[in-house]
């Protein structure tokens, strides 16, 4: 018996029992779909996290400044360094109570206070819901202005727009709200804070920090060169925090995801093998008289083994194809829901049918072997 005949016999048997074939393949469809879906979603999420993390870390240098210094001069000197796009000096720390200036005054306790220079808006890549960030002029004139984080603004019911004179109480003094920060990806704390101009007279209340926004990839180089810049002649009063290596963080994520994927792959494989093995076993029992007939007509044991195993393998492969397609759909849908760019390694999609083929082959071996051992006369008597 030729291999082509064996294959065509297997295909003919499968095609004449489409419902049985579909039922048998279901385990593999689900298993491979889960595998491709999880790998795809994990890859998509990994790439998303990796992209965002790399971008943030590769373009930012942070540092601390001790002792007396001129904040606005420091900002200017930092901003003029090669590779630096924006710079700012700021302080975090201190809690305050703020409230609206209106008949039905609303108050919030323990609100974070951030004091920052004018470059903070650019250096931290803030998005404003409305209004503007303060500048050096506000600080030198000692204007009583604030910028609220979106969460604080929402809590206070500050919904006005620029120039409409929204007023709040800050430490018992009325201040004008000149803007609201909608997004602050580099400093999420700001959303729950109130920002005021960094005092121009140097009356800082806490530990001063600086932040520098660089061109992509320049952060390591800038961090090496920037130690002498904020306070000339006093390099010891400046501490630069070197940007963490993004690779280590991303690698950690990758390892976690790989564990998840391996677990999913294991479950998928077991589900597929058990599904096909179970249904194939039931199927060959039902087909015992047919197998007996084939033996009576001259089939050798290896022909029966080959046919049953091949049918199981082809069923698995078909299930793998379908599973891959379903998996791709899951990834695309999952990415669309999260507004991500879907990413699925092509080799994972291509592996679906191959995995299905292997699952089917493994699952079919035992039923195939057992079927080929049937005595033909007994098989023919089976009802």
């Amino acid at each position: 018996m030729r291999l082509s005949d064996l294959t065509s016999e297997a295909l003919l048997s499968l095609s004449t029992r489409p419902w049985r074939t579909a039922t048998t393949a279901m385990g593999t469809v689900l298993g491979v779909a889960a595998l491709v879906g999880i790998v795809g979603l994990a890859s998509t999420a990994q790439r998303q996290v990796s992209d965002e993390f790399d971008l943030l870390q590769a373009t930012e240098v942070l540092g601390s400044i001790f002792g007396d210094f001129e904040a606005y001069e420091a900002e200017e000197r930092l901003g003029s360094q090669p590779g630096v796009l924006a710079a700012a000096v700021f302080e975090t720390g201190g809690l305050t109570t703020i409230g609206t200036v209106s008949a039905d005054s609303t108050a919030l306790d323990d609100v974070n206070v951030v004091r920052a220079t004018g470059g903070f808006h650019e250096a931290r890549e803030l998005s404003l819901r409305w209004g503007r960030w303060f500048d050096a002029g506000h600080a030198f004139r000692k204007d009583r202005v604030v910028v609220l984080g979106a969460s604080v603004a929402d809590s206070l019911g500050v919904i006005g727009v620029a120039g409409q004179g929204n007023m709040i109480w800050l430490d018992g003094v009325a201040h004008t709200v000149i803007g609201v920060v909608e997004r602050s990806p580099r400093m999420p704390l700001l959303i729950n804070s109130v920002a005021v101009p960094y005092p121009a007279d140097g009356s800082s209340v806490g530990q001063s920090s600086f932040v520098v926004l660089t061109d992509l990839g320049d952060a390591p180089g800038v961090s090496e060169a920037i130690g002498y810049v904020p306070v000339p002649g006093k390099p010891d009063s400046v501490s630069v925090v070197r940007p963490p290596e993004p690779g280590r963080f991303v690698e950690a994520i990758r390892t976690d995801i790989q564990r998840l994927v391996l677990g999913a792959a294991g479950v998928a494989l077991i589900a597929g093998v058990l599904g096909i093995a179970t249904v194939t076993s039931v199927s060959v029992v039902e087909r015992t008289p047919e197998m007996g007939l084939r033996l009576a007509l001259g089939a050798k044991r290896r022909h029966i083994t080959g046919q049953v195993a091949l049918e199981a393998a082809l069923t698995g492969m078909w299930g793998g194809f379908l599973g891959s397609a379903v998996g791709v759909a899951i990834v695309v849908a999952g990415a669309a829901i999260n507004d991500w760019r879907p990413f699925l390694p092509p080799q994972v999609v291509a592996a679906g049918p191959i995995i299905g083929l292997a699952i089917g082959g493994v699952a079919g071996i035992i039923p195939a072997y057992r079927t080929s051992r049937i005595q033909p006369d007994r098989a023919l008597r089976t009802e």
């Binding site: 018996m1 030729r2 082509s4 005949d5 065509s8 016999e9 003919l12 048997s13 004449t16 029992r17 008289p289 047919e290 007996g292 007939l293 084939r294 033996l295 009576a296 007509l297 001259g298 089939a299 050798k300 044991r301 022909h303 005595q375 033909p376 006369d377 023919l380």
Partner: protein, 223 residues
């Protein structure tokens, strides 16, 4: 051609069943042997042993002088393909296939090329009067047609021995006569026929009648 000496077939169990007990039988090439006897006499067991569908518990079976006990599984399968054609009372057709695909099945295992086996299957189907129904699905056939398909399948391989187990048992007399006419035609072309039947008229079509009872050949075992 076929020589059985003290052939026994015992099915193990509690109690064990002696289905065939010390059977001696000789059949010459081209002979038509009818096997008759009550239910449980061992007729089907004898036929299965002759057709290499089963193995004896003891005794010897010489097929053209070769002791089949010495043959491996593969050789036995080849002999089933080359020597024997089977027609069963229950037809044993593959229900999901067409008439011609069923007739082709034996040729697949005989190693006949795809083109040749289609031609031979169509010819065999036509020879039993079913030329118009080659592409019909077997569940749509009548009992008589199914049995003729089974006969065509046996004839297509040019088997030398036709083993029939109650081929007309599920058919009315008119349809049964048509099937027997085809068997008779094959026999006249030189085919050896071994047929189990409960019908004595049918048995008399044979050159010889073998009588069985309680697993033993009680009459007609000699050539």
């Amino acid at each position: 051609m076929i020589e059985l000496r003290h052939l026994r077939r015992i099915y193990p169990g509690r109690p064990e069943v002696v289905a065939l007990d010390s059977a001696d039988l000789m059949i010459s090439e081209g002979e038509w042997v009818s096997i008759v006897g009550p239910s449980g006499a061992g007729k089907s067991t004898l036929l299965n042993l002759i057709g290499l569908l089963d193995s004896p518990s003891s005794g010897s079976y010489l097929l053209e002088g070769v002791d089949v006990a010495t043959l491996g599984h593969n050789r036995r399968a080849e002999l089933r393909s080359e020597m024997f054609g089977f027609v069963f009372q229950a037809f044993h057709l593959v229900g999901s296939r067409t008439v011609v695909e069923n007739v082709e099945l034996g040729l697949v295992y005989a190693g006949v090329s795809r083109r040749d086996r289609r031609a031979r299957a169509v010819e065999a189907t036509a020879s039993v009067g079913l030329a118009e129904r080659v592409d019909a699905r077997t569940p749509t056939l009548s009992g008589g047609e199914k049995q003729r398909v089974a006969l065509a399948r046996a004839l297509a391989t040019n088997a030398r021995v036709l083993l029939c187990d109650e081929p007309t048992g599920n058919l009315d007399s008119e349809t049964g006569a048509k099937v027997l006419a085809q068997v008779s035609k094959a026999h006249h072309r030189g085919m050896t026929v071994i047929m189990i039947t409960h019908n004595h008229e049918v048995a008399r079509l044979g050159d010889r009648i073998v009588h069985m009872r309680s697993g033993r050949i009680v009459e007609g075992g000699g050539s």
